[in-house]
């Protein structure tokens, strides 16, 4: 079974968990779960939405349990990420800034931004996935985008460029 949306699951997991390893573990877990439920899957008309929902819940649970244990998810992929980003496009590390700014956002905003701006989901889809109203999604999204803009401008003004 090759899922065309496994990259989407992984990206969502990575957005929430930040750590690459954690995100890979989470994605693997979700894929295994989906695999074992393969036969029941025909009942769901939208497997992708279901998988995204599973990923979201799994990652939030993971974050919660880590917080309860007073542990922080460790990730060592800052540097790697920057290097690979730089290899992909010849721009300064301002793209890395965007990533770091997004890491600081609250989970809800992270998810909305990820689903809309990266994966281009419709508002209705996001609303259903997150269990919010479409209006709430709009508000969250607007807030998230404005925060990113604000922080980006701040970094810009501090110089370097």
């Amino acid at each position: 079974m090759v899922l065309p949306f496994k990259d989407k699951l992984y990206r969502l997991a990575k957005r929430l968990l930040v750590s690459k390893e954690e995100a890979e573990d989470a994605t693997q877990e979700i894929l295994m779960k989906l695999w074992s439920k393969n036969s029941m899957m025909e009942g769901y008309n939208n497997v992708e939405a279901y998988a995204m929902m599973m990923t979201k819940n799994f990652c939030l649970d993971r974050l919660k349990s880590k917080q309860a244990g007073n542990l922080k998810l460790v990730h060592s992929n800052y540097r790697d990420e920057n290097v690979s980003l730089q290899n992909q496009v010849e721009v300064s590390d301002s793209l890395g800034w965007v990533e770091r700014i997004m890491e600081e956002l609250p989970e809800q905003q992270k998810m909305v931004l990820q689903l809309r701006d990266v994966e281009q989901y419709e508002f209705e889809e996001i609303a259903e996935l997150l269990g919010l109203s479409a209006t709430a999604v709009r508000v969250t999204l607007s807030r998230a985008r404005k925060t990113v803009r604000e922080k980006l401008v701040q970094k810009h003004n501090y110089g370097i460029k």
């Binding site: 980003l85 793209l95 607007s142």
Partner: protein, 140 residues
Amino acid sequence: MELNNIEKLLERYFDATATVAEEEMLREYFTKEEVPLHLKKYAPMFQYFSIAKEEKFTRQVPLKPRKKSYMKWISVAAVGILIFGIYFGRSYQEQREAEYAYQETKKALSLLAANLGKGTEKVAYLREFEETKQKIYNKN
């Protein structure tokens, strides 16, 4: 694309009222065209989003839980057969032991019977003797 248009779109973008198609236009604008200075600060955002979409899940997932469940059922069946076998094997053993004991008893009994036969033969002699003795008594 017209600068005016882009600015309007940006405004709608930040109010989250733009459609997916309009946002796609913005993304294209900021990744392809030369951006005027006052809009340059937005470029990293859109560029980042395009790049973030390229990230792939590269780990190979060992999807073989099917096989595993087969193994489980095989072991369950094996245990079942084993228990079955032990149970019936034991009853078979018991049956054989019983048969053996029966044969032994039979042998012992036949031995006894043979000896008893010998005894009765001798007793038959004795009776003959008794009869003749009686005859002699009667004559006297």
